[in-house]
């Protein structure tokens, strides 16, 4: 089995090298990367991997950020030019963490009739700025927000069987194509997500993302990017303070369960063997299930439908049992008419 990862990066030199190193070690065989106008050293990092024969680099010069078009092109190239069996469409700040075994074990376990599986974002919180690599300092995982305007909103990401005519919609949350049937009810990957890593990076990232999305007239700007850019226009300091987790907030968050210490990526990037790491505990499973329950299932179509049917059942039962109400109302009306008649001329 050959696994190809696609990647779009813009000025992510602080993370992109580790992101590629992690995935190549985890079982990704090849990377197709799009570099969008990077000026911070990202291009050079990608070129190094290209020289090693592990990466195919595409450079995009325009300001517009047309993610769906670019990722679709890369996913198709993965199938037609680079021999992929499976394609993982990732961002530079995402780390696909298989919950059972190694990446190949998970993909091999997918029944043949299914072509798409999903990972769920696990959000890592912004911490006070540090000179250490991001994976040494960002060790606090936080519960996802149900609000889509939050950069920490709940979200799924999709990996798919390679297909020459696949279509990847905006955000890499789905993969559409012939025989690409989604395997629901299974989240065999956690996608460890580090969207904000320093004050400078968050300001640069969301301003550029907003400008890039605005120039793609085919789609609205994603709500979380719109909200962040709007906040940055008003007060960058307030935005940073709203998201940075200081030590006092960390202690409170750990005690109320909204925050958790998660050193898995740090340990892996320090060189701990994948096989040496323990499998998820029942508590890990339950915590992930609670995140899925709280953030994703509330918007699940089947659950929404069942909730509406329940509400209708309650309303109809009320109508059925309150047939006396019209009678009471009419008796009240009759009394009022009688009183009115006596008081009239």
């Amino acid at each position: 089995m050959r696994v190809v990862m696609t990647l779009v990066a813009r000025d992510e030199a602080d993370i992109v090298g580790d992101q590629i190193r992690y995935h190549l070690d985890a079982g990704v065989d090849f990377v197709v990367a799009t570099d969008h106008r990077s000026t911070d050293g990202t291009t050079e990092i990608l070129r190094d991997y290209e020289r090693e024969g592990r990466l195919h680099l595409i450079r995009r010069g325009g300001e517009a950020f047309t993610q769906s078009e670019w990722v679709t092109e890369m996913a198709r190239l993965a199938a037609t030019e680079f021999g992929a069996d499976w394609v993982i469409n990732s961002d530079a700040d995402e780390f696909w963490w298989p919950r059972e075994g190694r990446l190949h074990d998970v993909l091999a376990a997918v029944p043949a009739r299914f072509g798409v599986i999903r990972g769920i974002w696990r959000q890592f919180a912004l911490r006070p700025d540090s000179d250490e690599p991001f994976y040494e300092s960002l060790l606090v995982r936080r519960a996802p927000d149900a609000d889509a305007r939050s950069p920490y909103h709940a979200q799924v990401k999709a990996a798919h069987r390679a297909a020459g005519r696949v279509l990847i919609p905006e955000g890499n949350h789905d993969a559409l194509g012939e025989r690409l049937i989604l395997m629901r009810e299974w989240y065999p990957f956690e996608v460890l997500h580090f969207p904000m890593r320093s004050r400078e990076q968050l300001e640069r990232k969301y301003r550029a993302a907003w400008a890039g999305h605005r120039l793609d007239e085919s789609l609205p700007v994603p709500r979380h990017i719109e909200a962040m850019a709007s906040g940055l226009r008003t007060s960058p300091r307030d935005v940073h303070e709203a998201f940075v987790v200081e030590d006092a907030a960390l202690a409170a968050g750990l005690s109320d369960g909204l925050l958790a210490i998660d050193t898995r990526l740090r340990d892996r990037l320090r060189g701990v063997e994948a096989g040496a790491q323990t499998r998820p505990s029942l508590a890990d499973d339950a915590a992930l299930a609670a995140e899925i329950d709280g953030a994703l299932l509330d918007n699940d179509a089947a659950h929404l439908l069942a909730a509406r049917v329940e509400a209708l059942e309650r309303r109809l039962a009320a109508v059925e049992t309150n047939t006396a109400v019209p009678g009471r109302s009419l008796r009240t009306l009759a009394r009022a008419v009688r009183r009115g008649g006596r008081a009239g001329p």
């Binding site: 339950a286 609670a290 659950h303 009419l330």
Partner: protein, 292 residues
């Protein structure tokens, strides 16, 4: 664990042995008027202090009411944190730890944990039910008839928290409920040829977990271990859970059909009832002694 047993001498002993070794601390059993050896078996376990046998309430057996009574007793008299209400023919198989470990891992804000039901089919043959019934129905399609014993369904484990609204942890199935057709009225048994055909067609799969666990207990093992599913097993479990979701959609259609019928009944009776009430109101509004 709370159990209502009635004429299930062939399963109750295995049921008690299994759950006491799987992490259940206390079993409360109500004998619902057995005429076989069930009562004698229960009294033997009770003498050893392993279980508590409760008399049924007066009158006809009302199982939901008895289940509620036992759940209350479990919480108030026996210090239960969680209560599993089971049938004697059900075996609650935790995934990745004992029943106690699974339930202890649930975040405090949740009070209901789901279990995926697994249906075993009756099989012709000699020996105990656990030795012969090792074929499980593959839930490859939702069954539209909710009364079918094979319909995909879920069971629930609840926190012992009377009066508190319990929130379910949806989307997580850390327990499977293995259900065996023992006792009266279990339907036609599969012969060897039918089993072979169903296995070849993928309608049945071999599942020896309970048989193997009971053999270990018979050899003297006191506690059982429950491995975590690997990637292939986890994928299969997810597929079976997806079938449950499809069955839920079918059930929702059934509920919508029932709603339509009830609405039609209201629509057909409401105008007549309204006219009667209007006439009554008009009579009441008429000035005393005046014309109608």
């Amino acid at each position: 664990m709370t159990v209502v047993a009635r004429d299930q001498a062939d399963a109750i002993e295995s049921h008690l042995d299994f759950h006491l070794a799987a992490g259940v601390d206390v079993v409360l059993v109500l004998d619902g008027g057995s005429s076989d050896d069930t009562r004698a078996i229960l009294e033997r376990y009770a003498r050893h202090g392993s279980i508590h046998v409760l008399p049924p309430s007066a009158g006809e057996l009302d199982e939901p009411e008895e289940a509620a009574r036992m759940a209350h007793l479990a919480a108030t008299e026996h210090g239960a944190d969680w209560v599993i209400h089971s049938e004697a023919s059900e075996f609650w198989w935790p995934l990745g730890g004992s029943l106690r470990e699974v339930l202890e891992s649930v975040p405090g804000r949740y009070g209901i944990v789901q279990s995926l039901s697994r249906h075993f089919v009756p099989v012709l043959g000699e020996g105990s039910f656990a030795e012969t019934m090792i074929y499980r129905l593959s839930p490859q399609a939702p069954i539209g008839d909710p009364t079918s014993p094979w319909a995909p369904c879920r069971r629930f484990v609840r926190r012992a928290a009377a009066g508190r609204e319990l929130r379910p942890l949806r989307g997580w199935y850390p327990i499977e409920t293995l259900r065996f057709p023992v006792g009266p009225g279990t339907g036609d048994a599969y012969g060897p040829e039918a089993v072979g055909r169903a296995l070849a067609d993928g309608l049945l799969s071999v599942d020896t977990r309970l048989r193997d666990a009971l053999r270990l207990l018979a050899e003297g093992r006191e506690a059982l271990t429950f491995p975590r599913p690997d990637a292939v097993e986890a994928a299969q479990l997810a597929l079976d859970v997806a079938v449950l979701g499809e069955a839920d959609v079918l059930r929702t259609h059934g509920r919508l059909d029932a709603l339509e019928a009830r609405l039609a009944a209201v629509e057909s009776t409401l105008p007549a009832a309204l006219m009667r009430k209007l006439r009554t109101a008009a009579r009441a509004a008429r000035p005393r002694g005046g014309p109608l």
